[in-house]
Amino acid sequence: MTDRSKAVVLWLLVGFSVVTLSAPTAVIIGASLTSGKIVTFPPDGLSLQWYAQILGAFDLRAAFLRSLYVATVCTLIALPCGTLAGIVFAKHRIRFRKGIQVYLLLPFTIPLIGSGVGLMLVFGAGGLLGSLWPVGLACCAINLPFMIWAVAGSANALDPDLEKAAANCGAPPVQTFLTVTLPAVMPGVITGALLMFILALNEFLVSLLLVDSRIVTLPVLIYNSIRSIITPDLAAISVVFVVVAAMVIAILDRLVGLDIFLKSK
């Protein structure tokens, strides 16, 4: 194949991917801008009325704040757990390493509905149903492997001599961890933390089983709404989600650079 035809094929593939990946987002953005009363695409005239409406809707705002709270709790728990676990898996030959690794990755292999029912039973027995922070804990439990992988990826790329070098420079073990190991795996920590935040913010299935009507999170609220009638305000909410996710990715790019996703093994 000539360079030219290779370039044409590549561009076609890229174009196709971009279109298929962004089509749902484009449709939802369009639908949210409609001036009509039902979800249609292309939109029936342009207006921001639905954004004004969701801004004014108390239940939506409260649900959104609850989702932020859940995501924050989840991230705060995942930060120490995932960081330490990721470093240990990457750098230390610990006993039962394989077993522990499998155990920690288990949430991935179990269908979310299974995890959800299990957590519901556990939290119910512990009398935790009805409060919001256990939902954050649950999100952390099911998504922790993402955090561990992100950190372990960074820690694996670490030169094993780096910690020896720190010791040689006079740093005791705790100082070595704080001043050398932790900063060196920071890209993985940031990536993992933002991932955990986004996943918890959007988490639906497990939350559905753990919340009641007083503490619904935003995805659950949306689900409840579409069971009756799909109105354009849901499209507007979806756009808010897209914007939050885009912001997180922008932050990630600023802090770490997105190329670590392409380079990670």
Binding site: D159, K164, A165, A166, A167, N168, C169, G170, P172, P183
Partner: protein
């Protein structure tokens, strides 16, 4: 130094100006004895190279001196103090690592300042000191660069500055030059030597590169299979190898299996195939008449000529045939099959090929050397 615990042995060290004593140190892994009963002493300010093939135990020895591994037996004394209970971070040792292990999230100046901060130097003196050491390694004004922005040679210099900035009792070099290309490596060898002399810091360098060892060191320890084979000054290590291993590891050496006929005053009469030879008994090895031995002959001690007359000033002159010619630029290596030597070849350098005719493969030539250069070791 804690006076109360100073033993008589360590007091002697201080008096005798010994920077490092390694005493009967061994390191046993489940499957292998990596370091086997190694002892040596190193005078303050000197540059020691531990030379050996991979798996010889040289790196393990260095790791034990640095404090990253504990010997299974034996004692290491640094600056008069036994260090077995001193963790790595409390030893006054600077180290340049094989892959340098610079801190990637810190700038050049922050890397060099790191040991000073960890060792609680007065914060006001740190910037000045960092600058002085960046000057020493000839990187003035690059303190604000990131490590990734530097070339390989510049990174080497940062690693040297970081290892030396706190004025350690001892500098360890763990093959830091191994990954550099040849030109840069040779430049850095001289640079290490310059800095080491300027600060007269006691240095232990580990390498498998014999040239580097000969160029840089005051003393060379040759190690093989966990044991010291020879500890000597470079010239003696090269000219008077203590055993067959050292003779083979350093320099381009041909070994000839010989039979000892007789030995008198350090000169052995030998037989190889149908030919008779004379050689010098190496070291204080004893050779028994009638026993088997090996004769080592360095390529640069052997001369090649088209006529025997050209080699008149040499003790031993034999005829042979050129089997192979290797052109290396500044020299040509000939492999010569000497008549009567069976399949055993002798190697010879020709350092000035421009002045001579180049002998083709198959050419009939004369080779010659002196009896003192044919070293005989027990087989």
């Amino acid at each position: 130094m804690g006076e109360a615990v100073t033993t008589s042995a360590t007091r002697t060290d201080a008096v005798r100006n010994i920077a490092v004593s390694v005493r009967r140190v061994s390191m046993a892994y489940p499957a292998v004895l990596a370091v086997d009963d190694v002892s040596f002493e190193l005078a303050k300010g000197s540059f020691l190279t531990i030379l050996g093939p991979s798996g010889s135990g040289k790196t393990t020895l260095l790791q034990m001196i640095a404090g990253f591994q504990a010997p299974t037996s034996g004692e290491i004394v640094i600056a008069g103090q036994p260090v077995q209970s001193v963790p790595a971070y409390q030893r006054s040792i600077g180290m340049v690592f094989q892959r340098l292990a610079l801190f990637p999230h810190l700038t050049v100046a922050e890397n060099v300042a790191f040991p000073l901060r960890m060792r609680r130097f007065d914060a006001r003196t740190i910037p000045g000191r960092v600058e002085r050491y960046l000057d020493l390694v000839r990187l003035p004004g690059l303190g604000n660069r990131r490590i990734q922005q530097l070339s390989g040679g510049q990174q080497q210099r940062v690693a040297i500055a970081r290892a030396l900035v706190f004025e350690p009792d001892l500098l360890l070099l763990d093959e830091p030059l191994a990954s550099l290309d040849r030109k840069l490596r040779e430049e850095m060898q001289l640079e290490f030597r310059r800095i080491q002399r300027e600060l007269s810091v006691t240095t232990i360098n580990v390498t498998h590169d014999q040239r580097e060892a000969l160029i840089m060191s005051d003393e060379i320890i040759v190690m093989d299979r966990g044991r010291i084979q020879q500890m000597d000054r470079p010239q003696r290590t090269y000219r008077q190898p203590a055993n067959r291993f050292v003779a083979g590891f350093i320099g381009l050496t041909a070994f000839l299996p010989v039979e000892v006929r007789s030995v008198r005053e350090g000169v052995a009469r030998l037989r190889i195939g149908g030919a008779e030879l004379q050689g010098t008994v190496a070291g204080d090895d004893t050779l028994l008449p009638g026993g088997a031995a090996e004769a080592a002959l360095r390529a640069e001690q052997v001369r090649v000529a088209t006529t025997g007359a050209g080699l008149r000033n040499l003790d031993t002159v034999l005829e042979g045939r050129v089997e192979d010619v290797i052109f290396e630029g500044e020299r040509i290596v000939y492999e010569v099959l000497v008549d009567g030597f069976n399949e055993h070849r002798v190697r010879a350098f020709d350092h000035d090929p421009a002045l001579h005719a180049e002998y083709p493969i198959g050419a009939h030539v004369f080779v010659g050397w002196n009896v003192r250069d044919l070293l005989v070791f027990p087989a």
